[in-house]
Each structure stands twice: as C-alpha cells, then as structure tokens.
Symmetry: D3
Subunit: 243 residues, 6 copies
C-alpha cells in the first residue's frame, strides 16, 4: 500500500497535542494527567518510607512502577485484570519497561531508604499508552521528589536525566512519529524509544509485525524518535516551570 496521508492528517514527524496536568488528584505526592491526543493516562507517584526487604539497611532507595487500563478505556471492553486474578503478560512487560526507564532518570542511591511507586492508569486509550505513561510518570516523580525537598527530607531532587518516550512506526511503508490507534493497528513495524535529555538511549524496542525492516529504515525511525523526544522533554520542563 502506498502512503498518501496519515489518518489524522498530521505530518509524518508531528507529535499529537500533548497536555500535562499536574496535581490532577489530591492524595498522591505527584499526580499528573497526561493527554497525548485521545490517549489519557493518570500517572501518580507515591513515596513510601521503606525499601524492599533485600535492600534494607543499605541506605539506598528504590523505584517501581505499575500499569493498568480501565476496562472500558478501549474500543471494546477488556476484562478487568483484578477480576481475572492476574495481570497479562503485556501488562507486566509494560510496567517493567516503565520501571527501568524511570530508574534511569534518578540517582536512587541519593534517595535514602524510600521507594517511589509509580502508578500509570489508562483512562482512555488511543495508541501509545506505554510511552505516554513514561513521559507522564517522569513529571509525577519529579513533583513527588520536589515535595521531599520542600519539606527538608532531601537536599535536592536527585535527578540524573529527564527521560521521555515515544513510539515510531512504519505506516503504509512510511516511517511516522507518534502512532495513534488506527496507525498502530495497521502498521508493519512498531518501535518504542526512551531517551534522555542528553540524547542517550535508555530503551529501544522495535518489532516487525509484518515484514522485517532494514538498517536504513531503522535509522529513519530513530531520527524521528530522537526529534520527538527532544520536544517532549521541553514540554515536561515547561510543565514543571523549569524551562
């Protein structure tokens, strides 16, 4: 199939409209609603004053993430994982990815014996929920750590890098940035990329759904992701009043 245009009319290298609403719910230390087009995820960061048993007494902190989708965040209703009694392989894969990505953002050794728990709950899905979760959780985590600084529990936010994530893919034989659901369902190659504000890669996960992809194609996809993530990180910093 030859590419004519994206279903949304966006340019091949255009992000969807991004909104970051801080303090979205009132109990969590950090709470962000991230909207990437029609994808909406509530990201909360909770500080617990303890670490898992295997780290006790070492003076270092930990960060862990969980991910979920409301049953009707999707086109047709999904079964509720709590009712089924287990999380799917997909859910576990995603929450492991979010955790690894955010552990790269902070210097957990400087956090003290605390655990930062990130919860990313999708309330409306339109493609890219895992990358939106990472981008939103970054802001929620920053807010939660800033509160620890504000109350004197930490000298500074132990930031290593800002991190953000985006998907890229090949839609109708054309590399495009930030796939929405329609594109994602029909694409040949799907790649999720997590990068730092210094331009380093944290994660690259590319999958050929249909035809295998070659090096040249891969390079083009990475170019798109790199540019998109730079924009996302600017938006994160603006939302936090840091830029």
């Amino acid at each position: 199939m030859t590419f004519e245009s994206r279903p949304s009319g966006r340019a091949v290298d255009a992000l969807r409209k991004l909104t970051l609403t801080r303090n979205y719910t009132k109990h969590a230390e950090g709470s962000v609603l991230i909207e990437c087009g029609d994808t909406k995820v509530i990201c909360t960061a909770s500080v617990e004053e303890k670490v898992p048993g295997f780290m006790k007494g070492e003076g270092r902190g930990w960060l862990t993430a969980e991910y979920g989708m409301l049953p009707r965040s999707t086109h047709t209703r999904m079964d509720r994982e709590a009712a089924k009694g287990k999380q799917s392989g997909r859910t576990q894969e995603i929450q492991r990815l979010i955790g690894r990505s955010l552990r790269a953002a902070f210097d957990l050794d400087a956090l003290g014996e605390r655990t930062l728990k990130l919860d990313c709950d999708v309330i409306q899905a339109d493609g890219g929920t895992r990358t939106a979760s990472i981008t939103g959780a970054m802001v929620a985590a920053y807010d939660a750590l800033s509160k620890l600084v504000a109350k004197g529990a930490l000298p500074a936010v132990p930031l290593k890098h800002f991190v953000a994530a985006i998907s890229v893919g090949v839609y109708q034989d054309m590399p495009v940035l930030d796939l929405d659901y329609v594109e994602d369902s029909g694409c040949d190659t799907d790649m999720n990329v997590v990068m730092t504000d210094a331009g380093g890669f944290i994660e690259v996960q590319g999958t050929a759904e249909g035809a295998a992809f070659d090096r040249e194609r891969m390079n083009r996809l990475l170019d798109l992701a790199q540019a998109g993530i730079a924009d996302l990180i600017t938006l994160q910093k603006q939302a936090l009043g840091l830029a």
Copy 2:
C-alpha cells in the same frame, strides 16, 4: 463527644456539591464522571450483545457491575488488586451492591439478549465511593440504553425507576447526610441507602461501628437519606436533560 459542627461546615442535611459529566471518555456507550465533593468516580456502561451462559436463549437481558479503586485514589497507597491477584471482600461486596441496585432500575426482560456491564473506577476517594458509583452508573446506563434506542435496537429505554444512593451516619452523636472521609473515619454508625424516584427502598445497609443504634436514630437517618436521594435524582434527571 458533643457535636459542634461538621468538619466541612456543611449543614447536617446538606449534600456535597455534585457534578455529573456525561461522555467523559469516548469509547464506552455510556461514560460519566461523578464528583461528590472530592470523591471522583468514572462510571462507564458497556453494551455486550450476549448474556451469560445460564440465560442463553431466554430472550432476556442482564446487568452486572465491577468496582475498583486506583491505587493512589486514597490517602495512603493501596496495593493494586490486579497485582495481588484477587479482589478484596470489600470490593466484591461493593460491586454486588452496585449490580443489585441497578438491576432494580431497569426492566431487563425488555433489553433483549444483551448484557450491560457497569464499571465504576474511583480515581479520587473522599468517602461515599460506593453510593457515588450507584448514582453515577445510573446516568451512564441510561445513556448507553438511549444509544440503543437511537440506533433502533430498542423501542424505548426500559426504565423502571431512577435509582440513586447516599450514605448517612452518626457523627459526634449527630445524624448527618453524605459523610465525607473525615466524618466516615470517626463515625459510630454508617448507613448506605439506595432508593427509587418513587421513594421506595432498594437497599438499606446500616452498621454500628461503635455503639449500637436505636429505632429513633434509625428513623432520623432514613429521613435524611430519603430527602438527599430525592435531590440526587433531580440532579440525575437534569444532567440527562429529562427535568
């Protein structure tokens, strides 16, 4: 302890501010955000064109409900039920209550072989999440059924009664309407009441947390609930453009 005033300053018979936002998410046939003060619940109604196995071939419909809380909807983070691999007794009790209450609202025999699935997910909790779920799910279910009417699948919404729910309780020895979290934590008696727009009771669940309560006290609590629910049903109908 002698009652002086409610922590919120509300009158003893005053509801919290109620907001009903219809079409809150885009995929579900009915989708409502209900806000009762700081309690916020997303209620979606999904129509499935089948019934459970034991009802197959009987031509009648079914309605079922599920309930969940985001891990950080509460003051301190709760474990995610999907991660623990089971729903708590409290969760199951609540979703059974929501299901029974809404089955009283509609004539399911007239629904055809369809199942209405109601999902009530608490995104912020400040007391009264189960009663807010019922009140919000009523509107979401009405919307979902209206869509079936609009596309010609049903001649009319098979409504029996509007139903709504509220909590009442005894705070500092004073019967009060619509307990928030602070009142709920400290109250002696807690009662959840579900009623129809005809003033009939669907459910009454009263529990003495501390001292047992007498008949007179019970009568006063039921009076408060009856008045509160009448107001809630007016608000439901207004939200739906029916009043």
Copy 3:
C-alpha cells in the same frame, strides 16, 4: 399474590424450632451445633495466643470469622470453594458480617493479645444460614472465653452485649419472621438484622429483590426482627445456663 399461609404453617411472627448443642466437637475451645429448623451450622471458636501483625504490642485482642458450606449442604451440589481456589463474593460478604457482628459483642481491648477465630460451617442449608451462624457463634465464643476465665487467663468474660441475628422478609406481600428456603426463594424483600440484648441495632441489611419497599413495610419488618431476636437471646442465655 395474596398471602394465605406460610409453607411451613408457621405464624407470621413465629421462629423455627431452635436447638443449640454445646461441645458438639471436642477439639475447639467453643463448639456449637445450631439448628434453626432444617438449617444446621457447626460454629466453633478457637483461641490463638497472638494477634495480626498490625496490632502486635498493643495489648488488645482481635476476632475474626470464616464461613463455608459443605458442597452438598444445598439442594443441588455446589462446587467446593477450596477446589475452585477462591471464596465467592457471597462467602466473603457473610464472613465479614459475622466478624463485625461478633466484634460488637465483646470488649476486645480486655482480651489481651489473643485472636478469637470463629468458623461457621453449614452442614445443611434451609434458609437463614448467615443469621444462624451469628446466633450460634455467639454461644461458641462465650464458651471459649469462659474457658480462658476458668483457667485464670482472664478475670471475666469481656462481654459487652449478647448479640443474635434473624432474617425477616416479605413473602406473598406479607411481612414474616425467620424465612426458610422456600420463602426465601420466593420473597420480594429480604432483610437480615443483628441486634443486642439491649435492643440496639448492630447491622440492618435489607434488599428489595423484586419491588421496592416503603417505610411502613420497613417498620413492620424491624418490629418482627426485634421480637424474634429477643427470643433468640433468651434461648442463647438458657443454653449457657445464664438464664
């Protein structure tokens, strides 16, 4: 349908024959077989010399309850919950109710760091198993605590109130006391009431299975329950040699 007579021929305000057999099994500190007509439940009370982790070191006691039905206690065989690997929502709801009711009967602060575990196992079901469980467990718990007094571990049974429970309902448009299975299957409204010997309410759980019920009807049901429970508590005290 117009009421003519109850299937059992009982008066509308008549309890079924109640038998309480103490020391029914030999190992438990308290062990009671309660028979309410054809409903038979073995209620045991076990004393454990520890409390749940979250209460350790506070010097106070705890009480918890579990409920089960033998697979063929019912008309058609139910699946065994241990084989299915989980307790149903109904089971969890009932055991939470039994626990709350019995915690209202005793001053657990005076129990020391002990847990009273109540097991209510239905060996034959004919309606009213949850209320029979509460009424029987009261006697088993009293026996278990009396043994602690007898061996000098407690100065006195830390009794706050005797509690007992009964169901009431609307059968063929007539409020009746103590529903058996035939009545329960066909009734419109079903209410379980737990009260103390001082006439206070501990729990009221009323459900309209068919038509909603009005205040007057509710008052009549509470009158029936109140009288029935007074009789049950007299029988409990007689069984224990206290009256």
Copy 4:
C-alpha cells in the same frame, strides 16, 4: 520402646467402635455420618446427570471424590483451604485415593452418563480420616445408587464389590489395627489398606516414618488389615440392611 498397651486400652487387633448413620443430611442422594471412635466424617454422594467432557457420548458413568477438613476438626486450628486458595498436597492425595477406591466398587459402565460425586468432610479428626472416608462413602454411594434404582433409572445397583479401608501400623514396635491420633503421631510405620469383600486388595500404601520395616512385619500388618476390613464390610452391609 517396648509395647505395654495401647493408649486406648484396645486389643492390638481391635477396631474402634464404628457407627454409620444413614440419611444424615437431607439434600444429598446418599448421606452418611461415619464415626470411628472420635473420628467423624460426613460422606455424601450426589448424582449428576452428566459426565466430564472427555467421556461425553460414550454412555458410561464416572465417579469422583473430594475431601476436606473443617478448620477446627483438629487439635489446633488449620487454615481453611478455601481461604488459602488451594488444596494441600495431602488433601489432593487423599481425594485421589478415595476416588480410585470407590471406582473399584462399582461398574461405572452400567451407570449411564452420570457422575457420582462423593464428598467426605471431616468434622472431628482422631486418626484414620481417609480410611473412614472410604468406608463411609461406600455406604453413601450405595444409597445414592439405590435411589436411582427405586425411581426406575437403573435396573440394579451396579455393584462390583463392597470396599472398605483401614489403617494399620507399628506402635512401640507392635503391629496394631486402626490407629487413633495418639498412636498415629508416635508410630514408626503407617499403612492404609483398601480391600474388597472378596478379599482382594485395591490399594496398599505403607510408609516407614521412622525405621524401615521388613517383609515379616509387612505380612503381619496385612493380616491385621484383612481381618479388620472383613468386619467393616459386615458392618456396612448391616447398616444397609443387606446382612
């Protein structure tokens, strides 16, 4: 340790007092309370008019068994398997043994497409619960099948053999019949034997808990079991009015 006498004062080859109460509960097609001394088990037999999927359409019947212990049937309270969410290895081993033993008693090919479900629930344990379950379930199953004959669904009870079971063991270096709990806890060798009324073995399960046992000892144990089971089968037939 040298043997002087059994804790119960019984002769080495004496069974405990056995009582078989038929129609113990009212719903099951067969329902027997078996009491072997202080061991008490409710055995019910339920007839279901279907077979497992893999046997459908073959015209043959099936028989399966389940086993459970009430939490306080034992000296110290055991955790409830339904609450733990799984049956122990011991429970599964026992219910597989009961099933195999009873499948040897009946000609299931002559049962039609029906399943006989045997439930053995221990209400008081004092050693020998698995063998009591088999002996009691035999009578319950016979009763259930007799009811099918009585209502014309079967021409005759499809009996192959009566089966019964007993434990034997080595207590203080002395082979004894029908171990009670005190003997069982202290014995070196424990053997459960299931036999037919024709004197054939169905199951022999011997375990050396302490010292290994030799052939001579094994022969003595089998002699004891053979005589004990002959007596048990006589008692089964008397209970059923067949002898």
Copy 5:
C-alpha cells in the same frame, strides 16, 4: 489375556538398562542424569544454608523435593504447570513421595541448619519416572553432601541407608519388574516400592487399576521389587565409586 512376552522382549525380572551420569549440569552441588531405558530424569541437589521457619534454631537439617515434567517429555504434549498456575495432584503426590523416601536415606539431624532441595525434572518419559527420580536423586544428594564434606562443612556424609525405587506390576496376568510405558498403560496392578540397602521397606504403594489382587500376587511382586532394588543400589554405589 494370556501373557506371551513383554513388549520389550525383557525377561519378567529384568530391569531396563540404567545409566547414571554425574555432574550432568554445572551449577548444582549434585547433578545426575538418570536414564532407565527411555525414561530420562535430571536430578539436582541444591544445598541451602537455612531451614524452614518452624525448624529455626534447632540445629537440625531438612530435605525437600520437587518434581516436574517438561511439557513434551510425553507422547502428547501436557500443559505446562507453571502456565496453568498450579501443580497437579499427581505432581504433588510424587514430590511428597520423593521427599519422604530421601529423608529416610540421611540423618538430617547431623546435617546442621541446612536444607537439601532435590529437583527431579523429567525430560523424556517412558514409564517409571517417579521411581527413577528417587534412584537418581539418591546419587545427586550423596554428591551434594560429599561436597560439604570436601570443604570441611561436615565430618562425613550423614548416610543412614542407600535407597532406591522400582515399579512392579501385573501385565497380562504376569507379574513383571520395571514397567515401561506400554506395560504401564495396559497393566492391572501397579506397585511402586522404595527400599534400603539393608532390605527394609520405606514405601509400598500398590494400586489395582483393574481387578483386585490377592496376597500371593502381592508376595510375588514384592519379591521382584526386592531383587530389582538390590541391583539398583549396586549400580548407585558403582556410579559413586563406592563399590
């Protein structure tokens, strides 16, 4: 059916070819591949420097066993137990048997506060996997304990007896030793026997699959097992360089 010859052509009292390969994998303290004809089991013994909670501080050791089959170790693929989320009753029965058998081989009181964990994983099944597991695990356990001796953690291997296991059965009305899969599927009686090098019985588990068996038959089966196990123990000792 009259016996003519065994499918394999073996004599009625002939074992299959046995191979014991020590140090089969490199990480475990003891690791043995046992091959009994076409049955192949990897048996590893792992030493852990701790005991279960209930034994802590008593200075004694513990031994436990687990058993599994690779999904395609069998003629048709079995579901993976890890994917199903539970071990079958058969698996649990077998691993309990292996544990009991090997606990009889060693003086665990002399092991110190250590746990020996035996894993028996069937990579190819052709009958007799549980008895092969016991025979192979004996060698793996001996190797693991020898390593503790070699590094000075124990003065000597705390051996009580060598143990080995074999199956016997009645195939076409003929008692035979060491059943392979074809014989096992068609046999009437199946018996697993575990014995020590002193000729004592540790376990005897005989089951009549079809017709019940008599004492004479049982005696013949035990004779076959006794001779076979003596040969197996010689092979174990040769493999370990002890004979």
Copy 6:
C-alpha cells in the same frame, strides 16, 4: 573501567561454540538441544491439530511459545514457577518474544488449522538463554514441519525466512558479541537482536542498564549482531542438512 579482554578470552566479535543436536528427545515432532557455550536449552516443537477458539474455521495456523528454566539451571536455585503458581514477568516477556520471532519465520496461513507449540526449557544457564531459545526453536520447528511434509500433510515447509537471535552489549565500555553470564552481569547495555537470513530485523530490544548509549554505539552493536546472526543461520542450515 577500561576493557582489556573478555573473561572467556574470546574476540569481541566471536560467538561461543554452538552445537545443535536434533532429535534430542523422542516424543516431540521436533526436538533440539542447543548449546551456546555453557548455555543449554531443550527446544521442542509439537504439532496440534487445532487452533485457538478465536481462529476456528479460518483455515489458518498458529504458533505459540513457552519458556521455562529448571530451578537449578542457575548459579543459585530459583523457585519453581509451577510451585509458586505463576510465571514471572521475565518469563512471560521471553515467551512472547520467542513466539513473535518464530511467527515471522513461517507462513502460518499455509499451515492449515494447526498449532505449532514451541517449548524452550533451559537446563543450564550461562547468559543468552532467550536468544539461544529462538535459534534452537527455529530448527525444532523446521523439523516438526518437515515431518508434516513427509507424511503428506503439507506440500512443503511454509518457510518465510530462517530467523536466529543473539545478544550484544557493552562490556567495560567495549561493544561485544554474544554475552556470557559474567559479561551480562557486569555490562552497561544489553541488546537482543532477532534477524532473518535476508538481513531484516524482526526484533531489536536494547536496554541501558547503567549509562545511556548513543547512536554510534548502537550502530556498532547492530553491526556485531548482524554478523553473528549470519553465522548462526549458516549453522542452523548445516544442522538441517540444507547448506
């Protein structure tokens, strides 16, 4: 840390010694032992003459994969997933990866309504178990499909591409091919790559464990992987007698 040499002494672009043993076990349609240095995985391919429910009647085939590790395949013993009652997130991630990779190798539409089940069970782990599983499963799947061809069930093996997988990573700041356990534990970046014999990418999964990696580094890693996979595919074809 400056790179001096690999722990194994291998060149930075050298694979470990690879052995592929076909027909390793006798029951499976395809059965391969793959050894990559000290990593050993049994890969079996089973053909089932049915497809999952959602594909029934469409005439197309399916392929799915499962992965497991023997408890003592690792340096210290891991808990058995079947005993814990669930597969870890890591296991699920790996088996999803194997499935996706092998579905890219074959034209499943041409397979008919059959499912190819691939089981990859690690018997000894020394790094790279997931990539070895993919490389070995390719050969096992090819063998299983060749058997279908041999018996006339398929006209030809429905091959799209040969696929193989390898890990690459950054060890002591040096990009290296085919990490063993020692390198894997200490490396900064770890990337698993799956490619076809046409040089196309099927999967790229790169993770920065420590420092983020830049584009140049990524390119070098992909170069190493590309060369290594070409060699692996040659070895696969040789093992199958196709080259």
